[in-house]
């Protein structure tokens, strides 16, 4: 089975405190720690496990800049066979549809049985997988937390409200967005990444792919600025030494039925 997994390099929410830049139109990105999108890691792990079982190849692809190469290498260190970087100044400022259109152009150059994305990335939109499927006229399932591979079909479980699971039968080829928890992504250390450091990762431009109308000019949905909302008073922050804080907290917990 030929599997393509779309991945993205994102600011790591667990590692960063986000600040706005001076102009307020972007994050202060100077000191941000980036990593591979959490959901994508589960997708790559799942693809590797499927290929281990039924044979085939896992290819990871990303739309990004030079620095995005590091996430491709990381996923190759996990066990993905190939990496492809789609990079061009003309891609900058693309909205979800622009990104999906760029990926579609690459997908049509290959022959994939299964295409996976993470269920969502840093923007929390969860849009690229569903758009890709519609553009490619393939069946789609989002938030997938179980995959069983059959001959020309697969059975997938989707995680729905309350943690219940919706089982579906899908014809191949299809597009799936993968939810966290579907597996336990393997650990990759520095040594693993070193092993794949020399592997060739082809870089493809807009003209290589033959895509137009993407990027900022083609985007119908645009981010104007970032801001931190003022949601009223927020929490009463307890301050002082730890002992003082604990004393105040215990009083409050007693009053509210917590103790």
């Amino acid at each position: 089975m030929e599997i393509l997994v779309c991945v993205k390099r994102v600011p790591d929410t667990a590692e960063n405190e986000f600040e706005l830049n001076g102009a307020g139109n972007d994050l202060d990105r100077d000191d941000l720690v980036y990593s591979v999108n959490e959901w994508d890691n589960y997708a790559v792990e799942e693809a590797i496990q499927i290929v281990d079982k039924v044979g085939g190849n896992v290819t990871v692809v990303t739309v990004g800049d030079d620095e995005s190469e590091e996430v491709l290498r990381r996923e190759m260190a996990m066990g993905a066979n190939n990496g492809i970087l789609l990079s061009d100044d003309a891609f900058e400022g693309s909205d979800g549809k622009g990104i999906a259109a760029i990926l579609k152009a690459e997908i049509e150059k290959g022959s994939y049985d299964l295409i996976m994305t993470g269920a969502q990335a840093d923007e929390g939109a969860g849009q690229v997988g569903g758009m890709l499927a519609a553009m490619l006229d393939m069946p789609y399932a989002s938030l997938v937390n179980k995959i069983e591979v059959g001959d020309s079909k697969i059975t997938v479980g989707r995680e729905i409200e309350g943690g219940n699971q919706e089982m579906n039968e899908m014809q191949l080829p299809c597009v799936l967005s993968i939810q966290t928890g579907i597996n336990e992504p393997r650990y990759v250390g520095i040594r693993g990444i070193r092993k794949v450091a020399k592997l060739d990762i082809p870089v493809k431009s807009a003209s290589d792919l033959g895509v137009e109308g993407v990027g900022d000019a083609g985007a119908k949905t645009k981010r104007v600025d970032y801001f931190v909302p003022d949601l009223g008073d927020g929490a009463e922050m307890l301050e002082g030494s730890t002992d003082e804080i604990i004393e105040k907290l215990i009083e409050k917990l007693k009053a509210k039925g917590g103790l």
Partner: protein, 322 residues
């Protein structure tokens, strides 16, 4: 005139709460827009929801087809693409069905797409201004959405004020005949219910809830000791379950349990909307987080900026000394 269509999700013949929230969202898009509810399905459940929607919406579209009995997004999408005018604004919930349906629908309708909108700030010409969040709620953004050739958008449940339903006296249009070819390459099989665990976190008045801030499986003991001291139960956010450190039945949130405790201790939890979506009944929320900017502090009653791995043992000791 702006035409807005709202897709009504429902279960067992009862519409989800967001059915009462779409009208407020529509007003914030365009005060003078027409608003139509769209209900798809089959049989008695569908009829019941359509009837209920006539109390909230002046126009209701009903699409009845056996293939729509279960909301398989690949099937519903085909029907909607034939029924909704291509230049209209289409709203659906940012829930597991809306996430499945909407991105592809925007491609099929050649419309703009915006996901998980939490607020609208009106239309200027053909540009709609919307607010959404990124990075797990750490930052918000203003978006512009070109609606010249329509827009498909998912809105976050609970973000718009619910209206009073009951007296709209709406009229129903049956568009079942317009659904078109509903064959699909994805077939719904069954629902597998979530497993029941050894503890029922929904029954506890006090929850000590841990998030990714617990850092390591071995540290869970520290939370258990605090819970014991407080006669509480340990619950958690999703990453703890993903890591298989606790059972799924301990997870609070939209894809886990809905809890209604009196006191909720959020320990090293950032406060994503999917997590908070499972915290109901307006409990007294205590948040301990080492990041003073964590979104959880916007919803908590009391906040402490400390490392939970230091703070929880000290709190446990102090409570045990009482």
């Amino acid at each position: 005139m702006t035409q807005i269509f709202a897709y009504i999700p429902y279960k067992n013949g009862a519409a989800e709460d967001i059915a009462l929230e779409f009208p407020s969202a529509a007003k914030k898009i365009d005060e003078s827009a027409s608003l139509t509810a769209v209900v798809t399905g089959s049989g008695a459940d569908l009829d019941k929801v359509v009837e209920d929607m006539t109390g909230i919406y002046s126009e209701v579209i009903k699409v009845d087809n056996a293939d729509l009995a279960y909301p398989n997004a690949d099937v519903v999408r085909k029907a909607l693409a034939n029924i909704i005018p291509l230049d209209a604004i289409f709203l659906t919930a940012h829930d597991t069905f809306g996430m499945d349906l909407a991105p592809g629908l925007s491609v099929k309708m050649d419309s703009s797409y915006a996901a998980d909108v939490v607020d609208f700030e009106g239309i200027d010409g053909t540009t709609l201004k919307a607010v959404r969040q990124e990075l797990g709620g750490a930052v918000s953004t203003h978006m512009t959405i070109d609606i010249a050739s329509g827009a498909v958008m998912t809105v976050r449940p609970g973000s718009f004020a619910p209206v009073e339903g009951g007296s709209a006296g709406g009229s129903v249009t049956d568009k079942s005949g317009d659904a078109g070819d509903l064959s699909a390459k994805r077939k719904f099989l069954e629902i597998v219910e979530a497993e029941v665990g050894d503890v029922d976190i929904t029954k506890s008045d006090v929850l000590v809830s841990i998030g990714r801030g617990i850092e390591d499986e071995d540290n869970i003991e520290v939370a258990q000791e605090l819970a014991e001291a407080m006669k509480a139960v340990v619950s958690c956010s999703r990453p703890i379950v993903d890591a298989k450190w606790l059972e799924k039945s301990r997870q609070v949130g939209t894809s886990g349990q809905t809890v209604k405790p009196k006191v909720y201790m959020a320990m090293g939890i950032s406060g994503s909307f999917q997590h908070l979506g499972g915290v109901k009944g307006n409990p007294f929320i205590v948040a301990v987080n080492k990041n003073p900017k964590a979104p959880i502090f916007q919803v908590a009653d009391v906040g402490v900026v400390e490392d939970i791995l230091d703070f929880m043992p000290e709190l446990t000791e102090a409570i045990n000394d009482l």
